[in-house]
């Protein structure tokens, strides 16, 4: 039996939540090192928006991108292996959490300097247009990116050149520890994008249906050749910015208040009220997803790391193309 779209959404969001919980666990156990940016609270965005994308589309994301890779179709075990620095990771373990790349699904990472992926997305979109390849480019970034010059430059370029580009801004209202209202004189991000001459809207990023619907509409417009579209998803990051972050900049109360609009709980509540989900079904779903994530973690733990002999491999390419 095919699950209903709603149940599929729920299962996917739950999978990301539990994947990230496992990643945090492995981080605490010292198995994952470096920077680790988790996605709790924002699941509805990756899950809802990716339903509007097609295999030929390209995806550009940032450093909080485990969910994006998984929703793009990269096996969770290959994402987990990357977090553990193993050769079966998407980037052979070289990138770690912040640099997931997968050529097979046109998943272009993995860019960990804020906003630097936007120009690259514009170039990918330009190439699609100039070579008459089908497909759009979906570019994910946070509200922090909208502080940067490259955001404004890319908005302008995309609109000026009418590029097949879908801008998906995940506004969790914090760039690390600095709130949007402490960084920007005007905090309406969709309005800024609109100023560059492209249709832009703000959407409830906690409502997976709203995300899916808005993305579907915007993607269709881009596919019709109407140029770039911009969506600001308003959301909230439940966990710290990264595992290093002691969260001195916001109160526990603020986080608790935001958790009332947990995208998973919102959808589960809705399904319960509609009579299509009960405690037993939810628990079963949770167990299934936990098993899948455990399998991914066990797989990753058993995989080899890259040989030191290969340290300099792929610094430059082989023979000219």
């Amino acid at each position: 039996m095919t699950p209903s779209p709603a149940a599929d959404f729920l299962r996917r969001m739950l999978r990301i939540r539990i994947f990230e919980r496992k990643a945090a666990e492995l981080y605490s156990a010292g198995k994952i090192r470096g920077f680790l940016h988790l996605y709790d609270g924002q699941e509805a965005i990756a899950v809802g928006s990716f339903r509007a994308l097609r295999p030929e589309d390209a995806v550009v994301a940032n450093y909080r991108e485990h969910a994006h890779a998984i929703e793009r179709g990269v096996a969770p075990r290959r994402v987990m292996a990357e977090l553990l620095g193993k050769t079966s990771g998407v980037s052979r373990g070289r990138g770690g959490s912040m640099h997931l790349f997968d050529a097979a699904t046109h998943f272009y990472g993995g860019f960990a300097i804020v906003a630097e992926g936007l120009p690259v997305a514009a170039g990918l979109a330009l190439a699609r247009r100039m070579t008459r390849q089908p497909g759009l480019v979906a570019c994910y970034f946070g509200d922090g990116a909208t502080d940067e010059g490259e955001f404004h430059e890319t908005m302008n370029l995309a609109a000026l050149w009418n590029l097949p580009l879908l801008f998906l801004c995940e506004n969790n209202f914090y760039a690390m520890g600095t709130a949007l209202s402490r960084r920007q004189a005007r905090t309406d991000i969709a309005l800024k994008a609109g100023a560059y001459g492209m249709p832009a809207e703000a959407v409830d990023g906690q409502d997976v249906f709203a995300v899916a619907e808005a993305t579907r509409r915007a993607a269709e417009a881009v596919r019709r050749g109407e140029g770039p579209r911009f969506i600001e998803f308003r959301t909230y990051r439940f966990r710290a910015h990264s595992m290093y972050d002691p969260e001195l900049y916001r109160s526990r109360e603020e986080v608790e208040k935001a958790r009332v609009r947990d995208p998973i709980a919102l959808l589960a509540g809705r399904l319960r009220r509609g009579g299509t989900l009960d405690d037993a079904a939810y628990a079963a779903m949770e167990r299934e997803v936990e098993a899948e994530v455990d399998e991914a973690a066990n797989f990753a733990a058993g995989e080899p790391v890259e040989s030191v002999e290969d340290l300099l491999k792929d610094v430059v390419g082989g023979r000219p193309s």
Binding site: G95, D102, L118, A122, A127, E150, T154, V315
Partner: protein, 329 residues
């Protein structure tokens, strides 16, 4: 043929022969290129392939990276190396790093051209030579064409590379008359070239400084000193073999770099010679570099801030224990 015409010939050939190639940058189209390198190309190839950009170095270089990833062969013109500082994140953190950090999945076959160098009285912010900075970065190739043949040929060679190649065109060379282009000859993107043979001292130079080194060699020759002049051509990867062969022959070396001396390209070359040919040297490796100050506007100060034929010749004579005064006496 002038150097800028050779660049244009290379651009035109590339645009004609490969539909994936396009040129993008500030004023490359309707203006014809700020150094007139792309004059006429907009008319011939149209605005899709000779693409004027807004003033956003970081973003149009990044768009070049994306276009390269998307299957095209972009040539991005950054008006000058000075402005390329605005695009360094894209070049260093993405273009140069992507192949390695994606474990070979994504290469960036992007060509970035930029004017470099001082000598036109355009003062501190428009006179930089950052070739050494770029040559510091693993993952990119750095080319410095000094002749008309290389101005055309290195561009075409760069377009065959699977990785980002940064091409530095010294702004003083654009109006240089360089004779006819060798007929369709391909040039490589890996070797240095001996431009003048000699036995007494090796002058290692590149780009605009090559011609100053050749002028110095001419002067030295009148004094009975035969200098060998090596045009480095490719700064990364550096052709150690040609450099070392020359130095082993002459046993003396002078490195010429318009860039600042400290922590620069000249230091790297001197270190490599020291590591591999120390016992064959008759004198410490000498360096003639840009003065350690922002390049000033007045001509006499700018001249004093840069390597010149006289200072190169003097450094060469010093390596053989002679002073310029004695030489001319």
């Amino acid at each position: 043929m002038k150097y800028r015409e050779a660049v244009r010939a290379g651009l035109r050939e590339a645009l004609r022969s490969d539909p994936r190639v396009f040129l993008m940058g500030e004023d490359v189209g309707r203006y014809g290129g700020s150094y007139a390198c792309s004059l006429g190309l907009l008319e011939e190839f149209g605005p899709e392939r000779v693409r004027d950009t807004p003033l956003c170095e970081s973003t149009f270089v990044g768009a070049g990276i994306g276009a390269a990833l998307g299957g095209l062969r972009p040539i991005v013109e950054v008006m000058t190396v000075n402005f390329s500082l605005l695009a360094l994140d894209q070049i260093v953190n993405i273009a140069a790093a992507l192949r390695h950090m994606s474990a070979g999945q994504f290469g960036v076959p992007l060509v970035i051209r930029m004017a470099t160098g001082a000598g036109r009285q355009v003062a501190a912010q428009h006179s930089h030579s950052f070739e050494g900075w770029y040559a510091h970065i693993p993952g990119i190739k750095v080319a410095s064409p000094a002749t008309v043949a290389d101005a055309r040929g290195m561009l075409l060679a760069a377009l065959r590379e699977p990785d980002p190649t940064v091409i530095f065109e010294h702004a003083l060379l654009y109006p240089m008359e360089g004779g006819p282009l060798p007929d369709g000859a391909a040039v490589d993107l890996r070797s240095a070239a001996v431009r003048r043979e000699g036995r007494d001292v090796s002058l290692l130079a590149f780009g605009g400084s090559l011609w100053k080194a050749l002028a110095a060699a001419e002067t030295l020759s009148r004094d009975g000193v035969e200098a060998e002049v090596v045009d480095l051509r490719v700064l990364r990867p550096l052709d150690d073999a040609t450099i070392l062969a020359s130095v082993r022959k002459t046993r003396r070396a002078v490195v010429v770099d318009e860039g600042w001396r400290s922590f620069g390209l000249s230091a790297e070359i001197a270190a490599r010679i020291m590591e591999r040919a120390f016992h064959e040297l008759e004198a410490p490796v000498a360096r003639v570099c840009g003065a350690e100050a922002p390049v000033p506007y007045p001509k006499h100060l700018e001249d004093a801030a840069l390597p010149q034929p006289d200072s190169i010749a003097a450094a060469a004579l010093a390596t053989i224990g002679r002073s310029p005064a004695l030489a001319h006496g």
